[in-house]
Every structure is written in structure tokens, then in C-alpha cells.
């Protein structure tokens, strides 16, 4: 092997620069991490984003508020329903539209079902990141039940553009409540298996405990929200601190762990699933009869001004910022997407860990790449 070749792999000072991605099994999408390694130890992580940039914010400027909804689906596709809701809430609040009770409760149930589905998918993928391949299938198997509920009511399983300013596109299926309760019962039975398979496992604990510790200050400094922020003791659940919909009328806990390591982030999500099940149980019974949408003008025009609305998606705080000039299209639309902030903390918390830990850490941040690039 000639010397030229050697330099190609290993740099003069012994560093190895490894490009993880854009096609890599554990970046969960087209994210490129430029990792500087010393042996197997990570010296620096530089995320390169933009591989799946579609210009959603720009596209929004040429769409009416009703049309924007379907674009928000495509950002964080695992929290599609919450993204829709953010835009809908913004329009409703701006115009003072009173949404029927029925819609509010249905939205909450869907929010939480989406959250569970998202966490299930994350659990599966996290297991796979750490090499527990079977966990992947158990998570997917149970998620399928939620997707079936979605499909029955909205016709699509993942991106269901089901919200519309003022209410819902159409009414839910008559079996919706029944099937949701059946799922809650089923999943309460299956959840202990998740813990037995992964949470309690000694290998899993060693792989996650004490790995990628993020202090509360770091979390706040980087704006890390959602389960990743709450794993660091940062109380940032929008459902609690700025309730929207009917969250203020439902009983649930905000899960906060103080350790700030990967395992804390993991536990926040697992406990959140339980809380979501509780919320669903409370909300499903309260779905009253009534119209599925309020009366809304066919062409929505927001009065001139700036508007902001935030919701809690499965990954953190999603903010929608709109500047309107009174026309039917927004003048400027901006999304404060949770994953963008969650990604860039990676360098700070992964430094000094091994390359295997890098996978465990980036997995525990639960990144969805299209949401970062938009």
C-alpha cells in the first residue's frame, strides 16, 4: 500500500474523517454527518443538511391556507396530524373561529394516537440502531393497529391532511371510538413486553446510561425541546405551558427526567406513551355528537399582521409563524421545526464518545430529516 493511499484513509495527525450518510442505515434519512474520529473516538460531528430541501416555506407563499395543510404533512411525517393542527389553530385563532367541541376532542385523540405511533416507530428504530433487530418488528406490529384506525377514518395511513381550518375534512368513521379503545386495551397489554425486551436489558442499559449527557443549560441554549429536552429536566411541554385545544381540561403529567442521558430521553418517551394512553381514554368518551367543522369562508384571508402558534409534536415544539398582508396567500411563512434544533446539539453531546455511541445518541434525539430540511 503506497503512502498516498494511507493519507487517504488516515490524516497526518491520526484523524479519520468518516462520512456517515447521506445513505447510511442509522441516520434515518438523507442526513450526512461528517465525523472526525481519533481511533473510534468521536472528536467532532458536523451535520450537513439540505439533501431533502423542498422549499416548503417558499411554496407556502403561493398556497392558500387550506392548501398549506397538505404541505405541513410532509415536514415531520411522523407527526403529520400535529403539524396540520398547528396551521389550523393559527388560522382559527387569527380569525376567531369557534371550533366545535367534537372536533377539539377528536383532534386530541388523533394527536395522541399520532404521538404513540411516532414513539413506537422511534422505539423500533432505536432498537435497531443498537442492534436489537427484533424490537423493530414488535414496534411496527403495534403501530400498524394505529395506522389501521387512521386508514379507516381518513383513508390514508401516514400523511392524512385531515385537519382543515375550522375543523376536519370530513367526519371520523362511526367505529373510530370503538377501535381506538380496543387499541388502548391491546397496547396496554403489549407495553410491558417493550420494557422486558429493551428497557430492562442490561446490554441496552449499558449502551444508553450515561451516554450523551445533555445538561439543562445546553438544552435551553440550543433550544432542544420535546422528549429530548425533557430528558434533561427542561420543562417544555407546550401542552402544559401554553395549552391549546382542550389539553387544559385533561389530566396528564409532563414527564421530566433530570439525568439528560440517552436513557433518560428513552424513558421520557416510554412514559409519554403511557400518558398518551391515559389522555386518549379520557378524551374518547368526551367526543360528543355535533358538526365536524365550523362554518368557514371558502377563501380564507388573514387580516394584516403577524401570527404565531406553537404545538407540541412528537419531537418537540413546532412553531408556525405567518406574516399576512391581508391577501389569500401568506406573505411569509416560517416553521420553527423541533428537529432542526435537536440535531445541532449532537456535536456538543457526542464529543468524546465512541462511534457506536454516536449512533445511540443521534437515535435518542429522534430525528426526522425532512423536518430539518423542509
Amino acid at each position: 500500500m503506497d503512502t498516498k493511499l494511507k493519507n487517504y484513509i488516515v490524516k497526518e495527525n491520526g484523524d479519520i474523517i468518516l462520512n456517515m450518510g447521506p445513505q447510511h442505515p442509522s441516520t434515518h434519512g438523507v442526513l450526512r454527518l461528517e465525523v472526525v474520529l481519533k481511533g473510534e473516538t468521536v472528536k467532532q460531528v458536523v451535520p450537513h443538511i439540505g439533501y431533502i430541501h423542498r422549499g416548503i416555506e417558499k411554496m407556502c407563499e403561493y398556497d392558500t391556507y387550506k392548501q398549506i395543510i397538505h404541505l405541513t404533512d410532509r415536514m415531520d411525517y411522523l407527526s403529520a396530524h400535529m403539524n396540520n393542527e398547528a396551521v389550523c389553530l393559527l388560522v382559527e385563532n387569527a380569525l376567531g373561529i369557534e371550533v366545535p367541541e367534537r372536533v377539539k376532542y377528536i383532534r386530541v385523540v388523533l394527536d395522541e394516537l399520532t404521538r404513540i405511533a411516532s414513539h413506537q416507530l422511534w422505539w423500533s428504530a432505536y432498537g435497531m440502531d443498537l442492534g436489537a433487530l427484533t424490537a423493530f418488528f414488535y414496534g411496527m406490529r403495534d403501530r400498524e393497529r394505529i395506522l389501521d384506525i387512521f386508514e379507516e377514518s381518513f383513508g390514508s395511513r401516514l400523511l392524512h391532511s385531515f385537519n382543515t381550518p375550522g375543523g376536519l375534512m370530513h367526519d371520523v368513521h362511526p367505529n373510530f371510538q370503538k377501535h381506538t379503545m380496543e387499541f388502548v386495551k391491546y397496547f396496554r397489554k403489549k407495553l410491558p413486553e417493550y420494557h422486558q425486551l429493551l428497557t430492562d436489558n442490561v446490554i441496552f442499559r449499558n449502551r444508553t446510561q450515561g451516554i450523551g449527557v445533555m445538561s439543562k443549560e445546553t438544552a435551553i441554549a440550543y433550544g432542544v425541546t420535546g422528549p429530548s429536552g425533557r430528558g434533561s429536566g427542561y420543562s417544555c411541554d407546550v401542552r402544559k405551558i401554553a395549552p391549546y385545544g382542550v389539553y387544559d381540561q385533561l389530566e396528564f403529567e409532563e414527564i421530566i427526567y433530570d439525568e439528560g442521558d440517552s436513557f433518560a430521553r428513552y424513558m421520557v418517551r416510554m412514559k409519554e406513551i403511557e400518558q398518551s394512553l391515559n389522555i386518549i381514554e379520557q378524551a374518547v368518551d368526551k367526543i360528543t355528537d355535533g358538526p365536524y367543522t365550523a362554518k368557514v369562508k371558502p377563501i380564507i384571508k388573514l387580516p394584516e399582521g403577524e401570527y404565531y402558534q406553537r404545538v407540541e409534536t412528537a419531537r418537540g415544539e413546532l412553531g408556525v409563524y405567518v406574516v399576512s398582508d391581508g391577501k389569500k396567500f401568506p406573505y411569509r411563512m416560517h416553521f420553527r421545526s423541533p428537529n432542526f434544533n435537536n440535531l445541532f446539539v449532537l456535536n456538543t453531546i457526542a464529543k468524546g464518545h465512541l462511534i457506536a455511541d454516536l449512533v445511540a445518541i443521534s437515535g435518542s434525539l429522534d430525528l426526522v430529516i425532512p423536518d430539518i430540511d423542509r
Partner: protein, 166 residues
């Protein structure tokens, strides 16, 4: 001494948790009834695999007289965020010699559709609906451009008007 005890306790605890995981996979190994996968191409013929509301594609239902509900108003075209619908209208002589506007071709680009459902919701005459077909794979992209109104079809309302008059 306590270090030694902890050492062995650690080992025992580790073995216990590992065995807990193995029990789960072992249980599923021995219960083939829990298998959830479906045999896809075959299962189509045995049972319905999508729900009634499934959004497979946008279709335009026709009745037995080859008539549909579309007036050619163009609202769906206007609402579609992706420009997947093109309405081409034509003028035909109506009852009293006046030219009336009817739909000539309702062109639907399946490849550009994001299944947002707006066109179906806004159509004033409910001319559009969701079809449940989901096997859209084709060899040529141009095959995904469809004309929704069938050849020779006409607007239902026209007859009604005629009947009402006669």
C-alpha cells in the same frame, strides 16, 4: 467483600434481564399464531385489504347511462395545490340553440397528486370520489395521466334539465 458480592450480583442481574428478553422472543417463536404478515399478492383475492375510505386515486363515478356529475366548473382545478387537475371544456349547442359549456376532458395527473382531498371536498356537485385501487405502478410516467370522464359520457344534469322542460 461487598465488592465481590456486587460483582456476582451484577452478573446474576444481567443474566436475569437477558433471560427476560429471551423469554419474549422465545414465546413468539413458539406461537406461530401471532404472525401478522399478510401474503400480499394472494390476499387481494381473498379479502378486502383496504378500508372503504382508502385514498387510492381520484375517480369520477359514472352511472349506468355513462353519465357523471361534473359540470366543468373548474373549482377543483383551482383548489388543487399541485396543479394535478386540468379541466378542458367545450361548447355544445344547448336546448334553445344557445351554446353551453360542458366538460370535455377532466385530466388528472396521478403522479402529481398528494391525496389532500381538497378537490373532492370542494366540488359543488360531488362529481369526484376516492377510488380504492392502489396498484398504480406503470412503466411509463405518461400512463399516470388519466382522463377521468369516460369517452362519450355526459353531464347528468343536462338530461334533468331537458326532462324538466319537456
Amino acid at each position: 467483600m461487598s465488592g465481590v458480592i456486587k460483582y456476582f450480583a451484577d452478573i446474576l442481574h444481567g443474566i436475569k434481564t437477558l433471560w427476560g428478553g429471551m423469554r419474549i422472543t422465545g414465546k413468539y417463536f413458539l406461537s406461530p399464531k401471532e404472525i401478522v404478515t399478510q401474503q400480499y399478492p394472494e390476499i387481494r383475492h381473498k379479502q378486502k385489504i383496504v378500508y372503504d375510505r382508502f385514498k387510492g386515486e381520484v375517480i369520477m363515478p359514472h352511472d349506468e347511462n355513462n353519465q357523471h356529475n361534473c359540470t366543468g366548473c373548474g373549482v377543483c382545478e383551482m383548489y388543487c395545490p399541485n396543479g394535478s387537475i386540468e379541466i378542458i371544456t367545450k361548447k355544445i349547442p344547448g336546448e334553445n340553440g344557445k351554446m353551453i359549456k360542458v366538460i370535455d376532458k377532466h385530466i388528472y395527473h396521478l403522479s402529481m397528486c398528494t391525496f389532500c382531498g381538497l378537490c373532492i371536498k370542494v366540488c359543488p356537485t360531488q362529481a369526484l370520489a376516492w377510488g380504492q385501487n392502489f396498484e398504480h405502478a406503470v412503466y411509463d410516467r405518461s400512463k399516470l395521466t388519466k382522463v377521468l370522464n369516460k369517452p362519450g359520457s355526459s353531464y347528468k344534469g343536462l338530461n334533468k334539465k331537458k326532462e324538466a322542460k319537456s
